[in-house]
């Protein structure tokens, strides 16, 4: 892979990884006796590995190919493999923590193996590890195809991809050691946060520079979403992570905000992580891979514009619905609720746009499990955005908040929408990237599909039941006006649903493992086939073109 790079680029890789290794060394020295020191060593080993690879290829001959005549897909390939790796790790962790709630003995006795430390490994593992890598990899793919131009740079894509994975590694290992800011989905400490900002800036510059090379006046829809994902995630990340470290030799820091302001900032972040990480980015995926796979143009261009700006503008207001009936001033709660309900319009516009695109291609949905993954993802996107708007209504939220209903809702989105669209896109793109005629086994894709669907449905129904049951039990009064149930009694009622959840999660995990195996075998043994057109060109080729103004 290194031999694809020019000598200067290889030297650049050497210098960059050397610098990161040095940073790791400094971290290790400054943080002796603290988990930060361990993170220093992890960084050092990680960057050292990259350095070795660069070193070994240092005096390889210059590449002879005409680089501008092809796309640069090596980082995409590695990104997809990393996404699958994190999927198995993250979902595996999810099944374990779910099992701990059904059988507490599975906590074992180590400090690192308790629910509180493992749960963030699960959430960050699936959101950032799996989702993030899938987003970065597909964005590299999509930005090149829709611009019909090669990536602008050969070092920066690697920097983004590997730098992001270093962040994920530091995050996950940190949780096991108890390093956390306690801000949900923003747990990593200050040095990891700073590192992510650097990675993200490079990502943005790479995206802009590639778009600048495009052979096409218009920027395709998918790119608007990827761009919104990159920009707004940066904004959220920087503001919510403002903190003062207790010492530069240790991980611990204290948030710049306190109490009610901190709560609002956190859920402004938290909800928009859902919006711009788990929605906007994956809508980018949907808008590219679904029309491409169905070989149909997007149903309505006008609708895509409407839903795009609707999502960007409305979502930001919605975070305060996480704080209904709390000490947050009521006017903010009301604004959050109102915008959450309005959000349904652009959300359904997107879901509808995707499903209408399939008109005339439903026979393909029936026959092709890959396309079915994408179709089902759009359906779950529609369902969970409806549920989200519903749960943001104060009266409903009074019941659902703090219960498993929220957990079920998140998983309808995370499993049903985010994971399904990612797997669908991966199945669509793997044969193309590795120049294979098809996936190793379509039957395995088919079984993955049904396992994923069954797992999601079992999971979500279990959580609806437990959440609504628990919410109702908490608020039930006896005839004499006292609370009818103790907290412990609700725990007993939850148990069957917690077991059902483990089963649902395990099915979903099994699907992911099959998917990873199938991808591995495709790379290993599937027959070679060069696609007809998959290189930068001035002609419209067979990419989804931007429709003329309607």
């Amino acid at each position: 892979m290194m031999t694809r790079l020019m000598a200067t680029e290889r030297q650049g890789a050497l210098i960059l990884s050397g610098l990161v290794a040095l940073a790791g060394l400094i971290l290790a020295a400054a943080g002796r006796g603290d988990p930060m020191g361990v993170h220093g060593w992890i960084t050092l080993v990680f960057a050292g590995g990259v350095l070795l690879i660069a070193l070994r290829a240092l005096d390889a001959p210059e590449p002879t190919e005409d680089r501008l005549a092809s796309y640069y897909d090596d980082p995409t390939k590695v990104g997809i493999l990393l996404a699958l790796f994190w999927a198995v790790v993250g979902m595996g962790m999810g099944v374990w923590v779910a099992a701990q709630l059904a059988w507490p003995e599975l906590r074992f006795d180590a400090p690192w193996s308790s629910f509180g430390r493992l749960r963030p490994v699960h959430t960050s593992g699936v959101i950032f590890g799996f989702g993030g890598n899938a987003l970065i990899a597909t964005s590299f793919h999509v930005m090149q195809r829709t611009s019909r131009a090669r990536l602008a740079g050969h070092l920066s894509p690697w920097f983004v991809l590997l730098g992001f994975n270093l962040f994920c590694l530091v995050a996950a290992s940190g949780y096991l050691m108890g390093v956390t800011q306690s801000k949900e989905y923003a747990e990593p400490e200050w040095y990891a946060d700073i590192w992510l900002v650097i990675v993200w800036v490079v990502y943005f510059v790479l995206y802009m520079r590639t778009l600048a090379r495009r052979n096409e006046p218009h920027i395709y829809v998918a790119n608007w979403y990827y761009l919104a994902f990159i920009l707004v995630v940066a904004m959220l990340h920087i503001v919510n992570n403002l903190a003062v470290p207790a010492s530069f030799g240790a991980a611990k820091s204290y948030s710049a905000f306190a109490g009610v302001q901190d709560a609002m900032t956190q859920w402004w972040y938290g909800h928009n992580a859902v919006a711009f990480f788990l929605t906007a980015g994956f809508l980018g995926m949907l808008y590219y891979f679904l029309p491409k796979r169905a070989e149909r143009p997007i149903y309505s261009y006008r609708l895509s514009i409407l839903s795009f700006w609707g999502i960007v503008f409305f979502y930001i207001w919605a975070g305060s619905h996480h704080l209904h009936y709390t000490a947050l001033p009521q006017w903010v709660q009301t604004l959050g609720m109102t915008f959450s309900v309005m959000l349904l319009v652009p959300s359904w516009a997107s879901a509808g746009n995707a499903l209408m695109t399939l008109n005339g291609a439903w026979h393909k949905v029936r026959d092709d499990a890959t396309l079915r993954f994408m179709m089902l993802a759009a359906v779950f996107y529609g369902l969970s955005t409806f549920e989200g708007s519903f749960m943001a209504v104060r009266a409903v939220n009074s019941l659902s908040h703090y219960t498993d209903w929220t957990v079920g809702h998140v998983h309808a989105g995370a499993m049903g929408w985010v994971a399904l669209i990612s797997f669908g896109s991966i199945y669509a793109v793997v044969p193309l990237l590795w120049r294979k005629e098809a996936m190793y086994s379509w039957k395995l894709v088919e079984s993955h599909f049904w396992l994923a669907l069954a797992g999601t449905v079992i999971y979500v129904f279990a959580m609806w039941n437990s959440g609504i049951t628990q919410g109702l039990m908490w608020r039930t009064y006896t005839e004499s006006g006292t609370l009818a149930y103790s907290f412990t009694e609700t725990l007993v009622a939850m148990r069957p649903y917690y077991i059902a959840r483990v089963i649902g999660g395990a099915l979903f995990l099994a699907g992911a493992v099959i998917g990873a195996y199938n991808v591995y075998m495709t790379i290993r043994v599937a027959g070679h086939q060069a696609p007809q057109i998959d290189y930068p060109t001035g002609s419209e080729a067979n990419e989804p073109a931007v429709p003329a103004a309607e």
Binding site: G116, P120, Q181, V244, P245, W317, S398
Partner: protein
């Protein structure tokens, strides 16, 4: 009628779509548009929380966490207790009946970060302070199922064996002061000693704690042992102060029926 109502919207979308069509040819225009559209909501909802005085009540009796309690809070965060326990009693009758007066903003005024939580796998802890004895808390953390057989809470027996690290406490209190908690120089300088002092009643260090943090401060053995200062001491000291930083909620919300 319906048409008339929708007309301005249609006009708006027309203009909007045209503007977009032009913008999508320029990546910088798109970038600027996204940043602008995504900034409005957050700004309008968050900025006023810092400036409108009524957002946080004033409670003159509000006290600060002692170094031992703060250390316990940091352990609470480290162990992810907040993932199963909320610290925010909502303004709903059943919550008030179950957990006590609803939470006020001022109670977490000095909480960097807040620990309101989002999921109640276990009960709310906002007012758990002094609900149980220190001994109960320790035994519960060592083996929750010995006390509550149906519990799914993890055990934390290792805290009893882990000596509390106190050297970094002055630095931690100083960082907290930087972000707005009014610790005095004296409190910061003595943080490490005070952490130990709070867990050894009737000694000179204990008197220092009472002097710097008030006579009301809980000065007890916490984990039941005098000779060692453990992470268990810190965590229990923290749990026992939850809901006890100010009397304002109890004063402003008299119990039902009175």
């Amino acid at each position: 009628m319906f048409r008339m109502l929708l007309k301005p919207f249609a006009r708006f979308f027309e203009v909007h779509a045209k503007a977009h069509y032009r913008a999508e040819r320029h990546s910088m225009a798109l970038t600027a548009g996204i940043i602008l559209a995504a900034s409005v909501g957050g700004f309008i909802e968050i900025a006023p929380l810092f400036t409108i005085d009524e957002t946080v009540e004033s409670a003159p009796d509000m006290r600060l966490y002692t170094p031992l309690e703060q250390a316990g809070r940091d352990i609470y965060i480290r162990e992810g207790c907040y993932l199963c326990h909320s610290q925010m009693i909502r303004t709903l009758q059943d919550e008030v009946d179950r957990y006590g007066p609803y939470s006020l903003a001022v109670e977490s005024q000095y909480d960097h970060p807040m620990l309101w939580g989002s999921k109640r796998t276990g009960p709310d802890l906002a007012r758990v302070g002094e609900k149980y004895s220190d001994d109960w808390q320790v035994r519960h953390l060592v083996d929750p199922r010995a006390l509550v057989p149906e519990s799914v809470m993890p055990q934390y027996a290792f805290l009893l064996a882990a000596p509390l690290e106190t050297e970094s406490l002055p630095g931690r209190l100083a960082a907290l002061r930087t972000v707005g908690v009014p610790y005095t120089d004296d409190q910061i300088a003595n943080a490490a000693v005070d952490a130990g002092g709070q867990a050894v009643p009737d000694t000179e260090p204990a008197d220092g704690v009472a002097e710097r943090y008030g006579e009301e401060t809980n000065i007890r053995l916490f984990d039941g042992r005098r000779e060692r200062l453990t992470e268990m001491d810190a965590l229990v000291a923290y749990l026992q102060i939850l809901g006890g930083l100010t009397d304002l909620p109890a004063e402003t919300q008299p119990p039902r029926g009175d």
